[in-house]
């Protein structure tokens, strides 16, 4: 008699963890960031894990789709996708997902329009964790094997306040960052701690000239380190062009300066720095639209959490190389399972030559056994064990789930949070 490795049960646990008051185009991070922890268990008792978004519509979509996995083989990713697609439909009317307002301008991870791709990804990674356990192979091997030994990440800088306006816990150790000097200090602290070789600045929060001064201060303080700036579409075309002129010779790429593909195309026409995006090319349809316009956007910042999974992101890499585009990775607030999955993926994608974004340094919690992951010179090695090579720390899971139950946040809303600091803040973009 052979053991059945069919899927018996899917468990989704929402968690919340401390998040610093980080400023962005849409407002400011709330005190708690939400994620979901997915566990897929087989009849044989194996458990595959993953980490994904934790806002309410995503939890509802996961709950709706989870029963459909029962009885499936962990290898049946195509069938899983078919079943999920049948159960999790994108909303029929645009108005249904435009309700969140300014959130539309931030990470596509918060859009319910991406729910199918997000749920497929949430289950795919956990199923591949199971596959790896069955095959005694790390996920990177299931993806074609390592194309590189270690995956480089970038120092992801934010303008920030010293503490939250509401104070559910003690201030974070990073302090305030509003001036160029404070920004350089933040970068130094992060580079000292992690060894990052590239720097990304989340912009679109302070007046553009002030943010440009920040980049120039970083260029001076860290000569030779590639620099990127991401105003999250909060600048007009004119502002985008003015600022990039001030930053001449300094930027590795210019991420989402102006809104929409039209805005990006207008900037691209007069700007030599390649444009990168995680806002206007966020799915395969948008990829085609960019291609049909002659590719004003030159670098796609992918994210397996909303592109439909690890394998979909590999396919995206083939689209990128076919059309002469570059590829790097976007990130939201996350913990170690997401980071490990990104590492397996990025190790397996030859095209991925840019250091990837990660919010990881902004979190101080961990959900995997062994605690916080250790970077070497800003890079992570792929864990050698089978599957993801990570297991759940159940004590941490219980604690972070308890945070979720008590934190009172159910949907990320940087705009409402910002209104607590500045009731006149509208979030309307482009602001500058």
């Amino acid at each position: 008699m052979t053991t059945s490795h069919a899927i018996r049960h899917v468990r989704v646990t929402p968690i919340a963890f401390r998040d610093p008051p980080l400023l962005n185009a849409a407002g400011i991070h709330e005190p708690w960031a939400l994620r979901s922890i997915i566990e897929i268990e087989t009849d044989s008792g194996l458990v595959g894990i993953n980490e994904s978004y934790g806002d309410q519509p995503m939890l509802e979509a996961l709950a709706k789709a989870a029963p459909a996995l029962q009885g499936l083989s962990p290898w049946s990713l195509n069938e899983m996708e078919t079943r999920v697609s049948a159960l999790v439909k994108p909303p029929a009317k645009a108005s249904e997902f435009l309700g969140v307002g300014a959130q539309i301008s931030l990470a596509p991870g918060t859009h319910v329009s991406k729910n199918v791709a997000k749920v497929v990804s949430a289950f795919e990674v956990a199923m591949m964790d199971l596959q790896g356990q069955l095959a005694n192979a790390p996920v990177v091997d299931l993806l074609g094997g390592a194309a590189r030994d270690r995956v480089p990440f970038s120092a992801y800088l934010f303008y920030k306040y010293a503490e939250h306006i509401e104070k559910p816990y003690a201030p974070d150790p990073w302090g305030e960052a509003l001036t160029p000097e404070q920004l350089v200090a933040q970068a130094r602290r992060m580079i000292d701690g992690y060894g990052f070789q590239s720097i990304k600045l989340k912009a679109g929060a302070l007046p553009p000239a002030q943010e440009a001064a920040g980049i120039l201060a970083l260029a001076k303080a860290f000569p030779g380190k590639p620099l990127r700036i991401d105003p999250n579409a909060n600048w007009s075309v004119a502002t985008s062009l003015k600022i990039v002129e001030q930053l001449r010779g300094v930027l590795e790429y210019y991420e989402d300066p102006a809104p929409g593909l039209d805005g990006m195309a207008a900037v691209a026409r007069e700007c030599e720095v390649p444009l990168a995006t995680n806002m206007v090319v966020t799915d395969f349809d948008e990829f085609r639209r960019n291609a049909e316009r002659g590719c004003p956007v030159k670098i796609v910042l992918s994210d397996h959490h909303y592109w439909g999974g690890l394998r979909a992101t590999q396919r995206l890499s083939t689209l990128c190389s076919t059309f002469g585009l570059g590829l790097s990775m976007h990130s939201n607030s996350h913990l170690g399972i997401s980071l490990v999955a990104m590492t397996h993926l990025c190790a397996s994608v030859p095209l991925l030559n840019y250091a990837c974004d990660t919010h990881y340094p902004w979190q101080d919690e961990e959900i995997v056994e062994g605690g916080r992951l250790r970077f070497e010179q800003g890079s992570l090695r792929v864990p050698p064990g089978p599957g993801l090579g990570a297991t759940l720390d159940r004590t941490a899971l219980a604690r972070l789930h308890d945070n979720y139950l008590h934190c009172g946040i159910r949907n990320r809303d940087d705009l409402a949070q910002m209104k607590k600091y500045d009731p006149s803040f509208t979030g309307i973009q482009p602001r500058f």
Copy 2:
């Protein structure tokens, strides 16, 4: 102590098997078709197998690249591709691979310009056969699992002579097919034997009006069966448009009527039947060129043997769905390992809704244990065993290798063969 599954040895055995005198745009099939059988053996004694092209430049490329696999894990497909690419370079000058003359107009499988993709594919499938043995999973599962139970193939009809001009063996049982009546008889015999639900006619060999009459006779004899015609770019744009008008309402798709992307675009502008190709979109660069012209070609006839493997073909399917194209499969003369690999692949690609081409009925040999594969209503099921689910019949391998040693053919040359029948035949295209 763990067992090492590192690759110890790669063995490539050229084989030859009987091939009927099938007519096409470039000339006529020679009495022997060539293939290579690839075996990749691990330290632990596992053997992964595959089947690919067997012409001289391909055998040389395989021989050059094979030692680079030593010590690699069967999972290390990315590293294999890196090593193969470093050793097998495409020819620097176009003239180096244009020497074959009219062959350029046939399957890209004969082009040395595709050598890297062809060698990568040859090794990839054998390595995935090993992966499946290690993981105790069929190759289709390594590709994401089955999207369909069985893979439909089409009846692939040829105009043909009753026997070869040189007679190294007895005539094939199919007899002559030059008239519409003979063509219908050929289709009936093939459909009776295999149950095919679609019909493809290789054209470009006889005067176009005669071939159109063949299609109309087939439409009458097999109502409801999707029909396709493939003149292999041997018709001018004017001829292509004239013939498709005569076939109004009859064709499922129109395969490579006129030469080049220019020719196809000119036909597409005035033709409602979707155009398919295995001649102008044969790699990712050509895919981009078609997309940049607004996709005059609507269906890509892929072939994992020259697209770079099973995984590359899956990626192609994502390119196709992104740009609204269809996908089906091209075929050369082949035996059961290629057929099984196609079946695993096609079962795993949701987009692949057209019946695939296969030359299989034209061969009477087999190289896998258990003998000739059995079709049910024109379809094949994926073998349930691990890996490809096929093992080499070593007696057959020895016999077919002996054929190779004695047949005297080292490169497919349909043009030179045709000159034996008709010294005035030039192969210059478009002929009609």
